[in-house]
Each structure stands twice: as C-alpha cells, then as structure tokens.
C-alpha cells in the first residue's frame, strides 16, 4: 500500500468502522512505516473525535413556538381539505336527492298497487253472490260479500266422463279428495252470472264443474289480472244447468 492508497482509507480507518480486515491491516502497517501517513491518521482520528463530540453535544430541539405553528397549520390544512369534499358532496347532492325521490315513488307505487289489488278483490266479493252449494247456485244472484272456503257439492254423473271439452274450455270434474283438500285452502269469488238473471232464476237444477281457464279470462269478467302471470292458468267453478248450458262461474284461488 502506498501513501495515495492510504489517504483513501484514512478516514474509514479513523472511524474504526466496518472495513475489510486485509485493507485495515495493510493500512495500519503502512502508517507504522510512514511518518506522514501516521500523522495523517492521527489528524483523521482527531477530526473524527471532534465530529463525534459535536454530534453528541448538539442535542437541541426546535422551540415550542414551531410546534404550535405547525399544529395550527395542520388544523387549517385539515379544514381546507374538508371544504372541497363538502363542495363535491354538494355537486352530487342532486343525485342523492333524485335517488331518494325515485325510491320513495317506487315504494309508494308498490303500496298503492298492493292496496288497489286488495280493494279490487274486496269489491269483487261484494258484487257477487256467494254460492256454497248447487242448490244455492240455482238461485244464484249477487248477494252479500262473501269470501269463504269453497264448499262444492260434487255429484258425479255416471253417464259423463270426468273430462269434457266444451267451448274450448277444459272442464274437469274434481274428485272428492281434491274437493276435501281444497276446503281449507281455496278461496273463491261469488258466482258471476253468464246468462241473464231470468234464465238463471228459471234453472231447475244443475251441476258445478271445476275447470281451468287461462288467467286472461279474469279480464273477460272485469277482474284485475297480473300481466306477469298471464300465461298461468286459473281454476274456476262453472255452474252448468241440466240443459248443459253454463249459467254462472266463480274463480277459485
């Protein structure tokens, strides 16, 4: 190692910091043999000592006034940064208002629709006559509102099949089990006359037949229909006279 090489490492040697052991050893050997480099190393050590002394003694802190100033700046910055958020909220407020109004209208609409359905069913039951038996149906006429479980009186006819086609309507005679099971679950409208009241009054006997109709048949009788369920079928009881003519109908749910 020559003097130039030693000068490059003199500072690190004086700090006694981490350095390659071989280089350290060569540097110390050189300083032992070179008075100038030994003096340089002493100077470097003195400088390092002085710098460490300065580093250890200048433990000063900023005055408290600085802390107060920066904390005040923080509060002001926080306030300023919250103002744009408020303005952004103001800009978007109409969206929130519109969404709230839309939601309110939707809820009110649903409530009104639901109420109108209930009212319609109630009105229908008021304007039709309750018929609980075939005998009662022979005198079918608009009667007091009634929404009661169906109590059909099934009198199977031996000379008829259970399933007949009449005017495009599927008619099926309900079995006793079906009728029994439906007693507690079915709700029916009153019979709606299909002929004039005189012909209905002259009817000397008849039979109730359970049929299935397209749900659109409800509209034919002025009853409300859920368009979403238009493809579904609905049950109905048709009062058929002895002459084979349908005289009245009621819808069953």
């Amino acid at each position: 190692m020559n003097c130039n090489d030693f000068e490059a490492i003199a500072g690190d040697l004086s700090k006694d910091g981490l350095m390659e052991a071989g280089i350290r050893e060569k540097g110390l050997e050189h300083s032992a043999s070179c008075p100038d480099c030994a003096a340089r190393l002493e100077d470097e050590r003195a400088l390092t000592g002085g710098l460490r002394f300065l580093a250890g003694t200048s433990a000063v802190e900023a005055p408290s006034s600085v802390e107060a100033a920066v904390l005040a700046a923080f509060r002001q910055h926080r306030t300023e940064s919250s103002v744009p958020q408020q303005s952004r909220f103001s800009n978007r407020r109409w969206i929130y208002v519109a969404a709230s109004v839309a939601a309110t209208v939707l809820i009110v609409g649903l409530l009104v629709l639901n109420a109108s359905r209930s009212q319609t069913q109630h009105t229908t039951s008021q304007t039709t006559t309750a018929a609980t038996s075939t005998e009662g149906a022979t005198n079918a006429a608009p009667a007091a509102p009634k929404e009661s479980p169906v109590e059909p009186k099934a009198e199977p006819r031996n000379n008829r099949s259970n399933r007949v086609q009449h005017r495009g309507i599927t008619r099926q005679k309900p079995s006793q089990e079906q009728l029994d099971s439906s007693l507690t679950t079915e709700i029916a409208t009153d019979f709606i006359p299909l002929t004039n009241r005189e012909a209905l009054a002259q009817m000397d006997g008849g039979q109730v037949m359970r049929v299935e109709l397209p749900r659109s048949a409800l509209m034919s009788f002025g009853l409300p229909m859920d368009m979403e369920r238009a493809t579904e079928r609905i049950k109905a009881d048709v009062l058929v006279g002895n002459d084979g003519l349908a005289r009245a109908i009621r819808f069953v749910r």
Binding site: A8, G11, D43, E44, A46, L47, T48, G50, L51, R52, F53, L54, A55, T57, S58, A59, V60, E61, A62, P63, S65, V66, E67, A69, V70, L71, A73, F74, R75, H77, R78, S81
Partner: protein, 204 residues
C-alpha cells in the same frame, strides 16, 4: 397501543387521514433531527426554526407523495429540509458570513453543550474551530459532513436525502474531511502564532 409505538409510516398514514395526534407524534419524533440539521447547515437558529416549520408544513401538503420504497420518512423530511436550507442559504448569502477559521466566538451557544465535559481550553477552542470550519465548507460538502458525521447516517441514507449516488457521497465526504483538516490545521497554526505574538507586560 400508543402512538409512540407506531412506525413513522403508520403515523404518516394516520396523519393523512386527518389524525392530529399522529401528526403531533411524528413532529415530536422528528423535529429535533430536522432542526439540528438546519441549524448545523445554516448556523442560524432563526433560519433553523423557519426551515423546521416549513418542512412540516410541506409534509402536510406532500405526504401522499411519500413512497416508502424510496426511503424512510426521516429521509423524506431531511430531503425537504435540505432543499429549504439551500434555498435559504442562497437567499441569505449576504447575511451568512463566510467564516474564517480564525474568527472564533461565532458559534451559536445552542451548538455547544451547556456542561462541556472538556475543561481543556485548547480542546474547547478546537471544537469551536471545527464547528466554524464546517459552516465554512461549501454547502455540498457541508451537507455530507452534517448527514454522515453529525447525524450518523449511512452513505445510502445520505444519498437518498441528497439525491445522488452513494459513490458521490463517499467522495464528497472524503473531500470534505480533507478540507476540514486543512482548515483546522490552519486555525491551529494561527492560534499558535497569536499566542507567540501575545504582548507581554512591560515592567520597565
């Protein structure tokens, strides 16, 4: 868990979220280093106060730009402080004396320990000379002495603060130490000469 146990990065995130206590804790933790750096670079307590205040105010505005991958929060603060100190030195160049090592007694009292353990006057003068010599260095040499020697930063940390290569820090530090040694030697020689020409009392 108290804020004192949080890392600087955690405090910074909470500060960004608007938590004043986190900002206060971060200030409490880092203000001394920033203030000392500014004081050691400028030699002016007033300038150091201004720089410290500016550093933390700038932090409020730029905290979201901080990237942990590029360095520590402390390094980020030192970087801001360095920019403001250099700007301040440039602005106040006329008011910053280019101190000659011979001129003694210009060291701010705050830079000298109240209870100096060294009673040796010569040692005290040397320390003061050393401080004055540091202030007389060109800023780019002064800052590496302050960062690496007085704040005991690694070369990598100093390079992040200064924004240069590690090798540049190493070479500047080597050169800065050489300049300090030259100035200290010159100061010592001048002190010796001054003692030699010290007028003696005439008893004639």
């Amino acid at each position: 868990m108290t804020l004192a146990t949080f890392s600087d990065e955690d405090l910074l995130r909470r500060m960004i979220a608007g938590e004043e206590e986190a900002f206060a804790e971060l200030y409490k933790r880092r203000q001394a280093g920033v203030y000392r750096f500014a004081l050691q670079m400028s030699g002016s307590p007033e300038a150091a106060e201004d720089v410290t205040q500016e550093v933390f105010i700038v932090l409020l505005r730029t905290a979201e730009r901080f990237d942990p991958a590029r360095g520590s929060v402390a390094g980020y603060l030192y970087g801001i402080a360095r920019n403001y100190v250099l700007r301040r030195l440039e602005q106040d160049r006329a008011f910053i004396p280019l101190m000659d090592p011979v001129e003694e007694g210009t060291t701010p009292p705050s830079m000298i320990a109240a209870g100096d353990p060294l009673d040796d006057l010569t040692r005290g003068e040397s320390i003061q000379s050393l401080h004055d010599s540091i202030l007389a260095l060109p800023p780019h040499y002064r800052e590496v002495i302050v960062l690496c020697e007085l704040h005991e930063m690694s070369y990598i940390e100093a390079a992040n603060v200064v924004g240069c290569a590690v090798g540049t820090i190493r070479s500047r530090l080597h050169r800065a130490r050489g300049l300090l040694l030259e100035r200290l030697k010159a100061a010592k020689e001048r002190r010796s000469v001054a003692q030699e020409v010290k007028p003696a009392r005439c008893f004639a």
